[in-house]
Amino acid sequence: MSAILAIREEQRDCLQELTNVAMGQAGDRLARLLDTFVILSIPHIAVMSPSDIAMTLQSIDTARSISGVCQGFIGGGIAGEAILLFNDTSFQDLAKLMKYDDELDQQAERELLMDTTNVLFGACLRGLGEQIDQGFSFASPMLLGQHQDINELFNIKNARWENALVTEINYQLEGYSVNCDLLIVIADESVDLLLKKLDFMLD
Protein backbone atom coordinates (compact mmCIF):
# COMPACT_ATOMS: atom_id res chain seq x y z
CA MET A 1 0.00 0.00 0.00
CA SER A 2 1.32 3.38 -0.93
CA ALA A 3 2.54 5.36 2.05
CA ILE A 4 1.03 8.47 0.54
CA LEU A 5 -2.47 7.08 0.29
CA ALA A 6 -2.20 5.75 3.85
CA ILE A 7 -1.24 9.15 5.27
CA ARG A 8 -3.15 9.84 8.48
CA GLU A 9 -4.96 13.06 9.21
CA GLU A 10 -2.64 13.89 12.13
CA GLN A 11 0.43 13.32 9.93
CA ARG A 12 -1.00 15.62 7.32
CA ASP A 13 -1.74 18.25 9.96
CA CYS A 14 1.73 17.87 11.36
CA LEU A 15 3.34 18.34 7.95
CA GLN A 16 1.14 21.32 7.27
CA GLU A 17 2.09 22.85 10.59
CA LEU A 18 5.80 22.21 10.05
CA THR A 19 5.64 23.75 6.61
CA ASN A 20 3.73 26.68 8.02
CA VAL A 21 6.39 27.33 10.63
CA ALA A 22 9.11 26.88 8.01
CA MET A 23 7.35 29.37 5.80
CA GLY A 24 7.12 31.82 8.66
CA GLN A 25 10.86 31.63 9.17
CA ALA A 26 11.47 31.77 5.44
CA GLY A 27 9.17 34.76 5.15
CA ASP A 28 11.17 36.54 7.82
CA ARG A 29 14.50 35.85 6.10
CA LEU A 30 13.08 36.75 2.72
CA ALA A 31 11.67 40.01 4.05
CA ARG A 32 15.12 40.94 5.30
CA LEU A 33 16.78 39.98 2.04
CA LEU A 34 14.22 41.53 -0.26
CA ASP A 35 13.15 44.51 1.88
CA THR A 36 9.52 43.75 1.32
CA PHE A 37 6.71 42.00 3.12
CA VAL A 38 6.09 38.48 1.86
CA ILE A 39 2.48 37.38 1.84
CA LEU A 40 2.30 33.62 2.18
CA SER A 41 -0.69 31.37 1.90
CA ILE A 42 -1.25 28.53 4.34
CA PRO A 43 0.43 25.45 2.84
CA HIS A 44 -1.99 23.11 1.17
CA ILE A 45 -1.12 19.42 1.26
CA ALA A 46 -2.49 17.20 -1.50
CA VAL A 47 -1.90 13.82 -3.07
CA MET A 48 -1.27 14.06 -6.80
CA SER A 49 -0.85 11.57 -9.61
CA PRO A 50 1.53 11.99 -12.55
CA SER A 51 -1.36 13.20 -14.69
CA ASP A 52 -2.11 15.97 -12.16
CA ILE A 53 1.50 17.08 -12.35
CA ALA A 54 1.47 16.86 -16.14
CA MET A 55 -1.60 19.09 -16.21
CA THR A 56 0.10 21.62 -13.96
CA LEU A 57 3.19 21.63 -16.15
CA GLN A 58 1.11 22.11 -19.26
CA SER A 59 -0.01 25.47 -17.97
CA ILE A 60 3.56 26.61 -18.49
CA ASP A 61 4.04 28.10 -21.87
CA THR A 62 7.11 30.10 -22.74
CA ALA A 63 5.14 32.32 -25.06
CA ARG A 64 2.50 33.15 -22.49
CA SER A 65 2.45 34.59 -19.03
CA ILE A 66 3.35 31.54 -16.96
CA SER A 67 6.92 30.36 -16.49
CA GLY A 68 8.16 27.46 -14.41
CA VAL A 69 11.40 26.46 -12.75
CA CYS A 70 12.24 23.10 -11.18
CA GLN A 71 14.80 22.42 -8.49
CA GLY A 72 15.66 19.03 -7.08
CA PHE A 73 16.61 18.34 -3.46
CA ILE A 74 17.78 15.33 -1.55
CA GLY A 75 18.82 14.56 2.02
CA GLY A 76 18.72 11.52 4.32
CA GLY A 77 16.74 9.50 1.80
CA ILE A 78 14.10 12.16 1.42
CA ALA A 79 14.16 13.45 -2.12
CA GLY A 80 11.87 15.38 -4.37
CA GLU A 81 11.56 18.25 -6.69
CA ALA A 82 10.12 21.69 -6.28
CA ILE A 83 8.26 23.45 -9.05
CA LEU A 84 7.87 27.19 -8.89
CA LEU A 85 5.18 28.60 -11.17
CA PHE A 86 5.28 32.30 -11.88
CA ASN A 87 1.82 33.60 -12.76
CA ASP A 88 1.48 37.06 -14.26
CA THR A 89 4.80 38.08 -12.87
CA SER A 90 6.39 41.24 -14.13
CA PHE A 91 10.08 40.86 -14.93
CA GLN A 92 10.64 44.53 -14.16
CA ASP A 93 9.26 43.97 -10.68
CA LEU A 94 11.25 40.80 -10.23
CA ALA A 95 14.41 42.65 -11.24
CA LYS A 96 13.65 45.47 -8.79
CA LEU A 97 13.00 42.93 -6.08
CA MET A 98 16.23 41.02 -6.67
CA LYS A 99 18.10 44.32 -6.95
CA TYR A 100 19.04 43.45 -10.46
CA ASP A 101 19.99 46.63 -12.27
CA ASP A 102 21.63 45.30 -15.42
CA GLU A 103 19.81 45.38 -18.72
CA LEU A 104 16.94 42.87 -18.88
CA ASP A 105 17.51 40.64 -21.88
CA GLN A 106 16.11 37.14 -22.20
CA GLN A 107 19.21 35.69 -20.57
CA ALA A 108 18.79 37.99 -17.59
CA GLU A 109 15.10 37.14 -17.30
CA ARG A 110 15.92 33.46 -17.11
CA GLU A 111 18.56 34.09 -14.50
CA LEU A 112 16.05 36.10 -12.48
CA LEU A 113 13.53 33.26 -12.56
CA MET A 114 16.16 30.77 -11.45
CA ASP A 115 17.55 33.00 -8.73
CA THR A 116 14.10 33.78 -7.41
CA THR A 117 13.26 30.09 -7.31
CA ASN A 118 16.46 29.31 -5.50
CA VAL A 119 15.80 32.00 -2.92
CA LEU A 120 12.12 31.26 -2.30
CA PHE A 121 12.42 27.50 -2.30
CA GLY A 122 15.76 27.41 -0.48
CA ALA A 123 14.38 29.51 2.35
CA CYS A 124 11.36 27.26 2.71
CA LEU A 125 13.11 23.91 2.57
CA ARG A 126 15.83 25.04 4.92
CA GLY A 127 13.18 25.92 7.51
CA LEU A 128 11.52 22.55 7.05
CA GLY A 129 14.87 20.75 7.27
CA GLU A 130 15.75 22.48 10.52
CA GLN A 131 12.56 21.27 12.16
CA ILE A 132 12.89 17.65 11.13
CA ASP A 133 16.65 17.82 11.71
CA GLN A 134 17.61 17.02 8.18
CA GLY A 135 19.94 18.98 5.90
CA PHE A 136 19.28 18.92 2.17
CA SER A 137 21.44 19.19 -0.91
CA PHE A 138 20.05 21.25 -3.77
CA ALA A 139 20.51 20.80 -7.47
CA SER A 140 20.83 23.91 -9.54
CA PRO A 141 17.45 25.25 -10.66
CA MET A 142 16.29 24.37 -14.16
CA LEU A 143 14.07 26.52 -16.31
CA LEU A 144 11.24 24.45 -17.81
CA GLY A 145 10.55 24.47 -21.52
CA GLN A 146 13.81 26.13 -22.43
CA HIS A 147 15.42 23.26 -24.29
CA GLN A 148 12.78 20.65 -24.32
CA ASP A 149 9.10 20.51 -24.92
CA ILE A 150 7.50 20.11 -21.48
CA ASN A 151 5.39 17.24 -22.77
CA GLU A 152 8.57 15.43 -23.76
CA LEU A 153 10.31 16.25 -20.51
CA PHE A 154 7.68 14.75 -18.25
CA ASN A 155 5.82 11.89 -19.86
CA ILE A 156 3.12 10.35 -17.70
CA LYS A 157 3.78 6.90 -19.14
CA ASN A 158 7.40 7.06 -18.06
CA ALA A 159 6.76 8.36 -14.57
CA ARG A 160 8.40 6.01 -12.09
CA TRP A 161 5.90 6.82 -9.37
CA GLU A 162 2.17 6.60 -8.89
CA ASN A 163 1.41 9.08 -6.17
CA ALA A 164 3.22 12.09 -4.87
CA LEU A 165 2.72 14.20 -1.81
CA VAL A 166 2.49 17.80 -2.91
CA THR A 167 2.78 20.80 -0.64
CA GLU A 168 1.52 23.91 -2.32
CA ILE A 169 2.29 27.44 -1.15
CA ASN A 170 1.36 30.71 -2.77
CA TYR A 171 3.69 33.70 -2.51
CA GLN A 172 2.88 37.31 -3.10
CA LEU A 173 5.18 40.21 -2.48
CA GLU A 174 3.73 43.40 -1.17
CA GLY A 175 3.99 46.26 -3.62
CA TYR A 176 5.24 44.11 -6.49
CA SER A 177 3.46 42.36 -9.28
CA VAL A 178 4.97 39.01 -8.36
CA ASN A 179 2.74 36.04 -7.74
CA CYS A 180 3.98 32.49 -7.68
CA ASP A 181 3.04 29.02 -6.55
CA LEU A 182 5.56 26.70 -5.02
CA LEU A 183 4.85 22.99 -5.31
CA ILE A 184 7.08 20.63 -3.35
CA VAL A 185 6.64 17.19 -4.87
CA ILE A 186 7.77 14.17 -2.86
CA ALA A 187 7.36 10.62 -4.15
CA ASP A 188 6.36 7.47 -2.29
CA GLU A 189 9.67 6.09 -0.94
CA SER A 190 10.64 9.47 0.43
CA VAL A 191 7.26 10.01 2.01
CA ASP A 192 7.75 6.83 4.03
CA LEU A 193 10.85 8.28 5.67
CA LEU A 194 9.27 11.69 6.07
CA LEU A 195 6.24 10.19 7.82
CA LYS A 196 8.52 8.27 10.19
CA LYS A 197 10.11 11.58 11.11
CA LEU A 198 6.67 13.09 11.65
CA ASP A 199 5.57 10.15 13.81
CA PHE A 200 8.67 10.59 15.89
CA MET A 201 7.70 14.21 16.48
CA LEU A 202 4.08 13.35 17.20
CA ASP A 203 5.01 10.80 19.90
Binding site: Q107, E111, M114, N118, R126, S140
Partner: protein, 320 residues
Protein backbone atom coordinates in the same frame (compact mmCIF):
# COMPACT_ATOMS: atom_id res chain seq x y z
CA UNK B 1 40.70 8.13 21.14
CA UNK B 2 42.78 9.27 18.20
CA UNK B 3 45.96 11.04 19.13
CA UNK B 4 47.07 14.29 17.56
CA UNK B 5 49.32 12.46 15.15
CA UNK B 6 46.34 10.57 13.69
CA UNK B 7 44.42 13.77 13.46
CA UNK B 8 47.29 15.40 11.61
CA UNK B 9 47.49 12.49 9.17
CA UNK B 10 43.77 12.61 8.53
CA UNK B 11 43.89 16.35 8.08
CA UNK B 12 46.74 15.92 5.65
CA UNK B 13 44.94 13.57 3.31
CA UNK B 14 41.74 15.59 3.61
CA UNK B 15 43.69 18.59 2.41
CA UNK B 16 45.05 16.49 -0.45
CA UNK B 17 41.51 15.73 -1.53
CA UNK B 18 40.59 19.42 -1.50
CA UNK B 19 43.76 20.27 -3.37
CA UNK B 20 43.48 17.68 -6.08
CA UNK B 21 39.76 17.28 -6.61
CA UNK B 22 38.84 18.02 -10.21
CA UNK B 23 36.64 21.01 -9.48
CA UNK B 24 37.68 24.53 -8.58
CA UNK B 25 37.40 25.46 -4.91
CA UNK B 26 37.67 29.04 -3.71
CA UNK B 27 36.89 30.26 -0.21
CA UNK B 28 36.09 33.94 0.28
CA UNK B 29 35.52 35.96 3.42
CA UNK B 30 32.92 38.71 3.81
CA UNK B 31 35.27 41.24 2.21
CA UNK B 32 35.64 39.01 -0.84
CA UNK B 33 39.24 38.23 0.01
CA UNK B 34 40.48 34.86 -1.21
CA UNK B 35 41.31 32.41 1.59
CA UNK B 36 41.50 29.11 -0.28
CA UNK B 37 42.68 28.45 -3.81
CA UNK B 38 42.98 24.79 -4.75
CA UNK B 39 45.17 23.34 -7.47
CA UNK B 40 42.39 23.27 -10.07
CA UNK B 41 42.13 27.03 -9.71
CA UNK B 42 45.86 27.39 -9.52
CA UNK B 43 46.48 25.38 -12.68
CA UNK B 44 43.78 26.96 -14.78
CA UNK B 45 44.42 30.53 -13.73
CA UNK B 46 48.23 30.24 -13.67
CA UNK B 47 48.11 32.11 -10.37
CA UNK B 48 49.78 30.61 -7.32
CA UNK B 49 48.06 30.65 -3.93
CA UNK B 50 50.84 32.95 -2.66
CA UNK B 51 49.82 35.37 -5.37
CA UNK B 52 46.05 35.40 -4.69
CA UNK B 53 45.55 34.57 -1.01
CA UNK B 54 44.40 37.55 1.01
CA UNK B 55 43.70 39.53 -2.17
CA UNK B 56 40.35 40.91 -3.20
CA UNK B 57 38.55 38.70 -5.75
CA UNK B 58 37.43 41.56 -7.97
CA UNK B 59 40.89 43.13 -8.07
CA UNK B 60 42.53 39.85 -8.97
CA UNK B 61 39.85 38.81 -11.46
CA UNK B 62 38.22 41.82 -13.09
CA UNK B 63 36.15 39.48 -15.31
CA UNK B 64 33.96 38.60 -12.31
CA UNK B 65 31.09 41.12 -12.41
CA UNK B 66 31.25 42.62 -8.92
CA UNK B 67 27.70 43.95 -8.50
CA UNK B 68 26.12 40.79 -9.80
CA UNK B 69 28.32 38.52 -7.73
CA UNK B 70 27.82 40.49 -4.52
CA UNK B 71 24.07 40.34 -5.00
CA UNK B 72 24.26 36.59 -5.42
CA UNK B 73 26.43 36.20 -2.35
CA UNK B 74 24.11 38.39 -0.32
CA UNK B 75 21.41 35.72 -0.58
CA UNK B 76 23.89 33.10 0.64
CA UNK B 77 24.78 35.15 3.72
CA UNK B 78 21.19 36.11 4.51
CA UNK B 79 19.41 32.84 3.78
CA UNK B 80 22.26 30.46 4.67
CA UNK B 81 21.47 28.77 1.41
CA UNK B 82 23.56 27.85 -1.63
CA UNK B 83 23.28 29.92 -4.78
CA UNK B 84 23.85 28.71 -8.32
CA UNK B 85 24.95 29.98 -11.67
CA UNK B 86 24.82 27.89 -14.83
CA UNK B 87 26.68 28.29 -18.10
CA UNK B 88 23.42 29.04 -19.82
CA UNK B 89 23.03 32.25 -17.84
CA UNK B 90 26.71 33.15 -17.62
CA UNK B 91 29.16 31.07 -19.63
CA UNK B 92 31.82 31.43 -16.94
CA UNK B 93 32.71 33.09 -13.66
CA UNK B 94 36.48 32.92 -14.13
CA UNK B 95 37.70 33.22 -17.67
CA UNK B 96 39.91 30.18 -18.22
CA UNK B 97 41.12 29.74 -21.77
CA UNK B 98 40.96 26.44 -23.58
CA UNK B 99 44.18 24.59 -22.97
CA UNK B 100 43.72 21.48 -25.12
CA UNK B 101 45.20 22.14 -28.56
CA UNK B 102 43.71 19.11 -30.26
CA UNK B 103 40.62 18.02 -28.40
CA UNK B 104 39.60 21.41 -27.01
CA UNK B 105 36.14 22.28 -28.32
CA UNK B 106 35.60 25.84 -27.13
CA UNK B 107 37.63 29.01 -26.72
CA UNK B 108 37.11 29.08 -22.97
CA UNK B 109 35.88 26.87 -20.17
CA UNK B 110 32.11 26.85 -19.67
CA UNK B 111 31.39 26.72 -15.96
CA UNK B 112 28.59 25.92 -13.58
CA UNK B 113 29.16 27.40 -10.14
CA UNK B 114 27.70 26.71 -6.74
CA UNK B 115 28.21 29.17 -3.92
CA UNK B 116 27.98 27.50 -0.51
CA UNK B 117 27.65 29.12 2.91
CA UNK B 118 30.34 27.97 5.38
CA UNK B 119 29.40 28.06 9.05
CA UNK B 120 32.02 28.81 11.68
CA UNK B 121 32.23 27.08 15.07
CA UNK B 122 29.53 29.35 16.50
CA UNK B 123 27.11 28.67 13.63
CA UNK B 124 27.60 31.96 11.85
CA UNK B 125 28.36 32.44 8.19
CA UNK B 126 31.60 34.32 7.72
CA UNK B 127 32.88 32.56 4.64
CA UNK B 128 31.52 31.25 1.39
CA UNK B 129 32.90 28.58 -0.88
CA UNK B 130 32.71 28.79 -4.67
CA UNK B 131 32.74 25.47 -6.49
CA UNK B 132 33.61 25.70 -10.18
CA UNK B 133 32.58 22.82 -12.44
CA UNK B 134 34.04 22.48 -15.92
CA UNK B 135 31.01 21.82 -18.16
CA UNK B 136 32.59 22.76 -21.48
CA UNK B 137 31.75 19.52 -23.25
CA UNK B 138 28.14 19.46 -22.12
CA UNK B 139 27.73 23.08 -23.10
CA UNK B 140 29.33 22.68 -26.51
CA UNK B 141 27.27 19.58 -27.29
CA UNK B 142 24.09 21.33 -26.34
CA UNK B 143 24.94 24.44 -28.32
CA UNK B 144 25.74 22.33 -31.39
CA UNK B 145 22.51 20.42 -31.03
CA UNK B 146 20.60 23.66 -30.71
CA UNK B 147 22.29 25.05 -33.82
CA UNK B 148 21.50 21.92 -35.81
CA UNK B 149 17.88 22.08 -34.68
CA UNK B 150 17.65 25.74 -35.64
CA UNK B 151 19.06 24.97 -39.07
CA UNK B 152 16.60 22.11 -39.53
CA UNK B 153 13.78 24.37 -38.46
CA UNK B 154 14.79 27.03 -41.00
CA UNK B 155 15.30 24.43 -43.73
CA UNK B 156 11.90 22.91 -43.16
CA UNK B 157 10.27 26.32 -43.59
CA UNK B 158 12.23 27.59 -46.57
CA UNK B 159 11.62 27.13 -50.26
CA UNK B 160 14.86 25.87 -51.79
CA UNK B 161 14.77 27.85 -55.03
CA UNK B 162 13.70 31.25 -53.75
CA UNK B 163 14.60 31.15 -50.04
CA UNK B 164 11.14 32.59 -49.35
CA UNK B 165 8.86 30.74 -46.93
CA UNK B 166 7.56 27.51 -48.41
CA UNK B 167 3.85 26.99 -48.77
CA UNK B 168 3.36 25.14 -45.50
CA UNK B 169 5.22 27.70 -43.41
CA UNK B 170 3.56 30.59 -45.19
CA UNK B 171 0.11 29.12 -44.64
CA UNK B 172 0.91 28.81 -40.96
CA UNK B 173 1.71 32.52 -40.87
CA UNK B 174 -1.47 33.28 -42.79
CA UNK B 175 -3.48 31.46 -40.15
CA UNK B 176 -1.70 33.30 -37.34
CA UNK B 177 -2.35 36.67 -38.95
CA UNK B 178 -5.98 35.72 -39.53
CA UNK B 179 -6.34 34.94 -35.82
CA UNK B 180 -4.51 38.11 -34.86
CA UNK B 181 -7.01 40.11 -36.90
CA UNK B 182 -9.89 38.56 -34.90
CA UNK B 183 -8.24 39.91 -31.76
CA UNK B 184 -6.98 43.35 -32.70
CA UNK B 185 -8.76 44.24 -35.98
CA UNK B 186 -5.65 45.97 -37.35
CA UNK B 187 -5.77 46.32 -41.13
CA UNK B 188 -4.03 43.47 -42.96
CA UNK B 189 -3.96 42.68 -46.66
CA UNK B 190 -3.05 39.71 -48.79
CA UNK B 191 -1.55 39.81 -52.27
CA UNK B 192 -1.47 36.71 -54.49
CA UNK B 193 0.38 37.06 -57.76
CA UNK B 194 1.76 34.94 -60.55
CA UNK B 195 4.02 35.31 -63.53
CA UNK B 196 2.16 35.97 -66.79
CA UNK B 197 2.57 33.30 -69.47
CA UNK B 198 5.16 31.49 -67.40
CA UNK B 199 4.70 28.36 -69.51
CA UNK B 200 6.01 30.30 -72.49
CA UNK B 201 9.19 31.17 -70.59
CA UNK B 202 9.73 27.52 -69.77
CA UNK B 203 8.89 26.31 -73.27
CA UNK B 204 10.79 29.05 -75.06
CA UNK B 205 13.96 29.29 -72.97
CA UNK B 206 14.06 26.02 -71.01
CA UNK B 207 13.41 25.21 -67.38
CA UNK B 208 16.68 26.65 -66.02
CA UNK B 209 15.62 30.00 -67.49
CA UNK B 210 12.21 29.55 -65.83
CA UNK B 211 13.96 28.95 -62.51
CA UNK B 212 16.01 32.08 -63.03
CA UNK B 213 12.82 34.10 -63.62
CA UNK B 214 11.27 32.70 -60.44
CA UNK B 215 14.41 33.49 -58.45
CA UNK B 216 14.55 37.04 -59.85
CA UNK B 217 10.88 37.57 -58.95
CA UNK B 218 11.56 36.41 -55.38
CA UNK B 219 14.54 38.77 -55.11
CA UNK B 220 12.53 41.76 -56.30
CA UNK B 221 9.72 40.82 -53.92
CA UNK B 222 12.20 40.59 -51.04
CA UNK B 223 13.70 43.95 -51.93
CA UNK B 224 10.29 45.67 -52.11
CA UNK B 225 8.69 44.26 -48.97
CA UNK B 226 8.99 45.68 -45.47
CA UNK B 227 10.61 43.57 -42.82
CA UNK B 228 7.29 42.74 -41.16
CA UNK B 229 5.62 41.54 -44.35
CA UNK B 230 5.41 37.79 -44.84
CA UNK B 231 6.30 36.58 -48.31
CA UNK B 232 6.13 32.99 -49.51
CA UNK B 233 6.22 30.88 -52.63
CA UNK B 234 2.70 29.52 -52.89
CA UNK B 235 3.11 27.20 -55.87
CA UNK B 236 5.13 26.86 -59.10
CA UNK B 237 5.03 30.45 -60.36
CA UNK B 238 2.63 31.72 -57.73
CA UNK B 239 3.68 33.96 -54.87
CA UNK B 240 1.86 35.33 -51.85
CA UNK B 241 2.60 38.12 -49.43
CA UNK B 242 0.83 39.24 -46.28
CA UNK B 243 1.09 42.98 -45.63
CA UNK B 244 0.67 43.83 -41.96
CA UNK B 245 -0.93 47.11 -40.87
CA UNK B 246 -1.84 47.78 -44.46
CA UNK B 247 -5.30 48.40 -45.97
CA UNK B 248 -6.33 47.62 -49.56
CA UNK B 249 -5.20 51.03 -50.84
CA UNK B 250 -1.77 50.63 -49.26
CA UNK B 251 -1.54 47.13 -50.69
CA UNK B 252 -2.47 48.52 -54.12
CA UNK B 253 0.48 50.96 -53.91
CA UNK B 254 2.78 48.08 -52.96
CA UNK B 255 1.39 45.85 -55.72
CA UNK B 256 1.80 48.53 -58.38
CA UNK B 257 5.38 49.20 -57.31
CA UNK B 258 6.19 45.51 -57.44
CA UNK B 259 4.46 45.11 -60.82
CA UNK B 260 6.43 48.03 -62.31
CA UNK B 261 9.74 46.85 -60.84
CA UNK B 262 9.28 43.48 -62.52
CA UNK B 263 8.05 45.00 -65.79
CA UNK B 264 11.22 47.14 -65.90
CA UNK B 265 13.52 44.29 -64.97
CA UNK B 266 15.32 42.06 -67.42
CA UNK B 267 16.44 38.54 -66.57
CA UNK B 268 19.54 37.53 -68.49
CA UNK B 269 20.02 33.80 -68.88
CA UNK B 270 22.81 32.37 -71.05
CA UNK B 271 23.15 35.75 -72.75
CA UNK B 272 19.47 35.94 -73.64
CA UNK B 273 17.35 38.76 -72.21
CA UNK B 274 13.97 37.73 -70.90
CA UNK B 275 11.23 40.27 -70.18
CA UNK B 276 8.15 39.25 -68.27
CA UNK B 277 5.26 40.64 -66.22
CA UNK B 278 3.08 39.62 -63.27
CA UNK B 279 -0.59 39.93 -62.36
CA UNK B 280 -1.71 40.56 -58.82
CA UNK B 281 -4.88 40.14 -56.76
CA UNK B 282 -5.37 42.06 -53.52
CA UNK B 283 -7.71 41.31 -50.65
CA UNK B 284 -7.95 43.24 -47.41
CA UNK B 285 -9.17 41.10 -44.53
CA UNK B 286 -12.63 42.07 -43.29
CA UNK B 287 -15.58 40.63 -41.40
CA UNK B 288 -17.08 39.01 -44.50
CA UNK B 289 -14.06 36.71 -44.84
CA UNK B 290 -14.67 33.84 -42.46
CA UNK B 291 -11.48 31.76 -42.67
CA UNK B 292 -7.94 31.81 -44.11
CA UNK B 293 -9.00 29.73 -47.14
CA UNK B 294 -11.67 32.30 -48.02
CA UNK B 295 -9.06 34.99 -47.71
CA UNK B 296 -6.85 33.26 -50.28
CA UNK B 297 -9.86 32.72 -52.55
CA UNK B 298 -10.77 36.40 -52.54
CA UNK B 299 -7.20 37.41 -53.41
CA UNK B 300 -7.23 34.72 -56.12
CA UNK B 301 -10.42 36.20 -57.57
CA UNK B 302 -8.67 39.57 -57.78
CA UNK B 303 -5.84 37.80 -59.57
CA UNK B 304 -8.22 36.23 -62.13
CA UNK B 305 -9.77 39.63 -62.78
CA UNK B 306 -6.28 41.05 -63.37
CA UNK B 307 -5.64 38.26 -65.86
CA UNK B 308 -8.99 38.82 -67.60
CA UNK B 309 -8.30 42.55 -67.84
CA UNK B 310 -5.23 41.83 -69.92
CA UNK B 311 -2.51 40.84 -67.39
CA UNK B 312 0.33 42.97 -66.00
CA UNK B 313 -2.25 44.54 -63.67
CA UNK B 314 -3.21 44.56 -60.01
CA UNK B 315 -6.83 44.35 -58.91
CA UNK B 316 -8.39 44.81 -55.48
CA UNK B 317 -11.06 42.21 -54.95
CA UNK B 318 -14.28 43.48 -53.47
CA UNK B 319 -17.59 41.70 -52.97
CA UNK B 320 -20.25 43.30 -55.11
Amino acid sequence: MPNSDDFLKEFHWLMDVLQDIDVGLVVLNKDFEIELWNSFMQNHSAKLPTHVLGKNLFEMFPEVPAAWFQRKVQTVFTLHNPAFTTWEQRPYLFKFLNYRLITGVADFMYQNCTILPLTNTSGQIEHICIIIYDVTEVAVNRLQLQKANDQLHTLSRTDGLTRLLNRKAWEQSLEEEFKRFQRNNAAVSLIMFDIDHFKKVNDGYGHPAGDEVIRATANILRASQREIDIAGRYGGEEFAVILLNCDADGAKVFAERLRQSIENFTVTHNGIDIKYTISLGISELGPCISNPTDWIETADKGLYQAKENGRNKSVIFSKK
